[in-house]
Symmetry: C2
Subunit: 153 residues, 2 copies
Amino acid sequence: MAKKVHKPIGNHYIVEASGCDPDIIGSVSKVQQILVKAAEIAGATVWAESFKKFSPKGVSGVVVISESHISTHTWPEYGYGALDIYTCGDDVDPEKAINYAVEAFGASTSHITEITRGIDDNDRIYYHSIITWEEDFGEIREQKTNKRKSRKP
Amino acid sequence: MAKKVHKPIGNHYIVEASGCDPDIIGSVSKVQQILVKAAEIAGATVWAESFKKFSPKGVSGVVVISESHISTHTWPEYGYGALDIYTCGDDVDPEKAINYAVEAFGASTSHITEITRGIDDNDRIYYHSIITWEEDFGEIREQKTNKRKSRKP
């Protein structure tokens, strides 16, 4: 990682994706391809990958990137995929990764929290701030621009 | 993973640990040992580990566990360690992992958000709830019981 990006500020997205395609999120190879491509689209360098099918249907996986990680855990029987991505530095755009992965999972809606980490008031006591919003893709994704963003106190 | 724990509910802890010992959080081997032991203390099965030193001083690592992951990214020059752990099922106690890791990092304070993931209202539209609190260990950890917990709306 270049010295210029070694600030402690990072962004962590926590995403619950609903209405996902069970055939996609139930396939280890498809989920792995999607997460690796998501990391690449975000501009991250992939170091390592670990994916596994778990009983009875789900997939669990982590892509380790130079700027931290992107992970998922899926429940095809509920059409539900839990995703998170944590990145540091200005060279990576984690929102691109999330947008790509959620769309590739075939999700109809997603509930997203963005956590800005490593903030301090010049006292080296670090904390994070939180924003949560919903995205509704609609059955034919016509509502994709229907994004609501609300800051939680 | 046993079928009984295949519910979509999971717990994700996002932790900013401040005042950490630079000699500990700057050492790849020490950070790796701490995270692996944290996973074991929580009752998780370790599948894979990926740790790396990054320029100029930090350590970045992920332990992939059967119930998802525990990761860290450290900045020894600021005494700051970012940690997160995501687990599903009733067989793992992620708070034990966090408590162990934060103490092993030598942190004086931590800012913690617990995200309960995979909640729905029987409509398969999943969301999460959020609680944030601070822990102040004090210089000699006398204030360790001084835990404040506040529910964020």
